[in-house]
Structure formats: structure tokens, C-alpha cells
Amino acid sequence: MSEEVTITIDDQSIKTQRGEKLLWVALENNIFIPHLCAIKDESRPNASCRLCFVEIEGQDKPVTACSKEVENAMVVKTRSPHIDRLVKTGFELILSDHNLKCRECPANRDCALQMIAKKRGLKLKCDRFKPLEREYELDDSPAEFAFDRSRCVLCGQCVWADRVEAEIGAIGFTGRGINRVVTTFKDLPLADSICTECKLCVDACPVGALYYKHNQKA
């Protein structure tokens, strides 16, 4: 059922296949849309990071590009005052629960948040919202890597790597709302769980939450 469609993103005309997700079509054509939780092969995206909003002509409300399938003659705008405001708020909410000591972070200069901030002119500061002050657990039980939850953005890339690529099922989301965390069954340290330490989750982490110990800075 691959049917060719033509869409317009930011005045750029793009030919693609029907059924493709808007976010990936844009990225493949070098049009940047901020995203953290999007996974290309996932048929039903979580759309939980709320960063990939775009406007589609003829639709009242902005939509998340990761979950929107392209349609013929679709006209998409990735920037507008409304979109920028939404993305800024989403970004700031993520930062309000993120350890902002970038200099101490192993992912400094190789971080999805830093990239989004740079491309969209956002600050890596949490001015508008009060940062959440709470205790985060550091799990440094695995031999080669560690998991610092103070940097976790709950994007789910590690969970996908663990399930689909590694086919283990050691980590997953637990809790609800503000208490949601990525953890193991019974909240055991990774080394005591069924984790095989394949490190695919470390490679998948877009920030510095899962990191190799040899990259550690502080």
C-alpha cells in the first residue's frame, strides 16, 4: 500500500509514502523538530515528551509530529508563536525535573536537551517553574555503566532498547505522575535484576542518565 504523497513542510515540498510519520519525514529531509520519546519503528508512539508539536493547515489545534501520519497535500508549519510557546513550556517542564549541572554530566555536548535548546534558542535554565527538589537514586551496580535518575527525562528509549533490541524485559516504567521512574522489578539494583548488562540502553539514552562509567566526570 505504498502510495506516494506530496506534503509541504515549512514551504519545502517533500515526496514521501503514505502512512509515514510526519516527524521522521521532516527529520529525513533535514527539517528539525524537537523530540525525545519518538521511536521510528514504534507503530503507536507514546507522544509523551510533548516537544514535537507542529501546526497543520486546516486543523485547529497543534498535533504531535511523531504520531501524525502524512496525508497528501498536507501543509505543515514547524514554527509559529503558538508552537514555540508550547514547545518552550514542555521543555521547561522537563528541565524542572532534570539535573542541570551540565558540566558534571557525562553527556555534556552530546545531549538531546542541549541540542534542542541550541536549535530552538531555549535556555537550559529553569526560571519559570520551581525545580523539583527530591532525592534521586543513583544505581551504579552494573560493571561498566550507571543510571543516574536525576538526569532521566522518561523518554523510554532505554525501555524500548531493552524490550525490542535486547529482548530482555529488565527495565520498565513504574509509579504514576510525578513518581514515575524507570526501574527494575521490585526496584532492585540493575546488577541484581535480570539485566544482562548488554548496554544497549546506555547507547539509547539521549541524555546522561544512563552512562558509561569511563565517561564519568564527577
Binding site: R163, G169, A170, G172, T174, G175, R176, F185, K186, D187
Partner: protein, 179 residues
Amino acid sequence: MQLLEGEKEEILACVKDVLGGNSKTQENLIPILQQVQKKLGYLPTMAIEKIAEGMDVPAVDIYGLATFYNQFRLNPPGKHEVKVCMGTACYMAGGDITLESFQRRMEIDEGETSQDRYYSLGRVACVGCCTLAPVAVVDDQVEGKVTPTRVDGLMLALEEGRDDNSSQQPDSSEGDNNE
């Protein structure tokens, strides 16, 4: 939480029974957990492990589900159950202080059960008598204006009812099953 004598067998039999009575599809997971909890009074981690095995899903997924929904409890109900109201009125009237007082006196956190299973402590959203705020429900009995001093009084009454022979003793041979 340490398992009681014979509890392991009870859990295994219960899970086997419930899994046998339901088709093992994803949409049946919540009903299965509900049935197990109805029979056992709570969801022991051992039951979660066995359900995960039986349904061929990662145990952490079921654990995630059980921690997501308020209806599931991972600790057994204590002989005396205290629920502190955290509805708007009770919260404004110091419900969090009431909860903290109970936590300190019982030496357990919210959602937990004491090792001897004498106390369990939880929170409720609203019990419908906001004029009495802050409210606590002690063994289905609504108590109003529960200040820390009142908590001391309630705890004293509960402690007086404690009969060492009647409280269930954990079976040490089972080892810890709920870290």
C-alpha cells in the same frame, strides 16, 4: 514483607487457579490482578512473578501496572488499617501532618504494612466529612479532627488491643520476598 507460614503455597495455588480461569491475553491482565488481589488481600511480589511467567510478559511490566493504579496494593492489609484523608479540606487542615504522625508512630511509610502485620497505613482522597477535617479512617471508623495529639490517643487504643498471641508471626524460613 516476609511471607507467613503456608502463604507461599496459598499464593502459588491462587495464581494457578486465576490463570487457569482466564485466557492469557493482555486485556485480561488487570482482571487477573484484581482476582488475585481479591483472593489474597494484596499482590505479593511472588504472585506478580508467577503471573508474569504464566503470561509471558516481563515482571517489571506487571509491577509497573500495579504501582500505577491505586486499586492495587503490594503490601498485605494489617490487622488494623489506618487511612488518612488527603482530600482538599483535610490536606489544608493539616492531613499531611496527621499522616506523618501515624508514620512516625507506626514506624512505616504510607502504603506499607508493619513487619508483624499489625498495622497498615494508607491514604484516601475524600471520605465525605470535610467538616471534621483532618480525618482518618481507623478500621472503617471515621475519626475527625485528628491532630497529632489525637493520633497519639488513637495509637494508644490500638496498642492496648495488641495481644501478642493473636498477631501473626512471620515465618522466618520463607526468607524475604519483598525487597
